[in-house]
């Protein structure tokens, strides 16, 4: 059983904390960075699972087995680095695609979730909302979305989300009512 030294433990812990913090952000770029940082944290943890400070196994006269560093964590860490690297490129491509499609890099709420969550209110609100929403839906453009993303205030976000929700589901109110 190995024990981590304090420095390594602090570094791994710090990377985990930063990684998870970034993962919980709204911006895709930060989420990707969070994944990268968290990946480093886990790789470091994997590496530190073996004893550190000993020489690697090399060719030459055989020494005592105890004198060498444990090669397995190194192999595991290498595999895991390759995997995280590959997936990071995929994530970047996906984030870029999302940016190309929507014009901003925010993680949006799920439309269907929102629609089901507000189904009751929309039925209650009736005609008035119906008319209002219809105008909103007509105005929705990509430029409008981009401005919304730029402002990044809670209210703007809410309006945008609602607008998108109704734009996609414009026939819904009368169907439900």
């Amino acid at each position: 059983m190995n024990t981590l030294d304090a420095t390594l433990a602090t570094v791994v812990g710090g990377l985990f904390a930063v990684g998870f913090f970034l993962l919980m952000q709204r911006s895709l770029m930060r989420v990707v960075l969070g994944f990268v940082v968290l990946g480093h944290g886990t790789n470091l943890l994997l590496l530190s699972a073996g004893r550190s400070g000993d020489p690697p196994i090399v060719e030459g006269p055989m020494r005592q087995v105890d004198g060498y560093a444990d090669p397995l964590p190194q192999a595991l860490a290498l595999t895991s680095i390759v995997i995280t690297f590959g997936l990071t490129t995929f994530l970047l491509a996906l984030a870029y695609r999302s940016w190309r499609l929507t014009g901003h890099d925010e993680v949006r709420d799920d439309l269907e979730d929102r629609r089901i969550g507000t189904a009751r209110e929309r039925v209650d609100a009736g005609e008035r909302t119906d008319a209002g929403e219809r105008t909103d839906a007509g105005e929705r453009t990509d430029a409008g979305e981009r401005t919304g993303a730029g402002e990044r205030t809670g209210a703007a976000e809410q309006t945008r989300d609602r607008r998108e929700g109704t734009a996609a589901e414009e026939e819904t109110p009368e169907d439900l009512a």
């Binding site: 059983m1 989420v31 979730d113 089901i116 929705r140």
Partner: protein
Amino acid sequence: MTTVLALPVLLPVLAAGASLALRHHHTTQRLLSVGVLATVLATAITLLVRADQRGPQVLPVGGWDAPTGVSLVADRLSALLLTVSILVALSVLVFAIGQGVTEPGNETAATFHPAYLLLTGGVGLAFLSGDLFNLFVAFEVMLGASYVLITLDSGRARARAGMTYTMTSLTSSLLFITAVALCYGATGTVNLAQLAGRVAELPEGLRSALSLLLLVVFGIKSAMVPLHFWLPDSYPTAPSPITAVFAALLTKVGVYGMLRTQTLLFPRDDTWILLAVLAIATLLIGVLGAIAQDDVNRLLSFTLVSHIGFMLLGLALFDVAGLTGAILYVVHHIVVQATLFLAAALVVHRTGTAALHRMKGRAPPTALITLLFLVPAMSLAGIPPFSGFIAKLALFQAAVAEGSGTAFALLGAAVLTSFLTLAAMARLGRKAFLETVPGPSPASSAHPAPPASPASPPAPPDDEAHQEVPARLPGRLMLGATCAMALTGITLAVCAGPLARLSERAADDLLRRDTYRTAVLEEEGR
């Protein structure tokens, strides 16, 4: 003779490479995929027979014996799940080919085949892996392919859903590496058979921490409440055959990981209260979510979450009867959930919409589609002659035999969930089959566009789930594949006796642990 163990992994992975090279020859690509999966299916059946008769089959990959090198192990549980998974993967592949044929000009077909083969290779490796780190690699192969499949041909909704799915899976993968690192740090091995012995010597607290970490990892992968939020958001946006195969295989591999690690590494003597609570939450929250949904695929995704609870219930009981029920349920659910998604795809294909409230007045599904939907729906709800009833009965008997308060709470939640599932399925059936108007009128004339629609912007391309496609008749391959799946479901019910006995032997192996350990570690001597 154990070389055959490598085939379920090796063949699909090699074929994936070949398939990528053949991307301009669509027919060859299709034949290759079907041929490879059929061969793997035959291999899996061989493995199952051999594992049942002669005990766990072990292949030391790369020539290094068990604790030193990586080994592939097929015991009864893994061979059984592998067989069922590959069978479903093959049927879904045929369905997908049928759907691709009926939709000419589909550009994504070329990438679909390599990714799909890689996915099945990953699933095979996950079931056969005898090593914790190798299990992680298997998950990565499988999930890496699934990231490609879920974002195929991505519009806005798919890019967003794909992002949610990818991030959640990646987070759980990173937690998995963390668990592997901590296990290695604590015990000095990642071989499952050797870990089983060494984990027992660890202090109580450390053991619980590792057990919980692995529970969280596989809990995310198998969509256990409260770690399920990603699933209903992401699965329904993928093309329907892909949703079907994800629903059938990916979550079950998570459940398999849970069954394997918890029974082998962290055995316990009595009911696991924490998992029992989580199982109850999964059962109820999942099915209540399903009742609220309006989209066919989302509704089915929520029932998927809910029914993961049945498998957790079996594991929570932690005795032979409970595990037998859990294994039976996994087998039943892999087949039935995939059939349901395929049948739903046929309905959507026919009516042209996935939204239940818009199905009113659409072209009604044909009698065959209705039948194909009805059989798995009844089976899922646990109506007597079908496989769901048998699997549920096994679980209920296990809970009654256990007799503790927790067991009865689990039993109550499970019974309630069964009824609520029936309600959800009845609602889906009513909307999709009874409220559609009879007659051959196509969707466009039966459901004229609302007057406001010319003024409003054209339907955004991201809205795949609700994209208005004209009503069509599904192709023969799609119907054939769904029929085959429905028949498999019925066969499971007909062969319930042998299947239940096989599951019981598998459950017995899981709890005894020695069968697995000696089979893997005795290789050392040769």
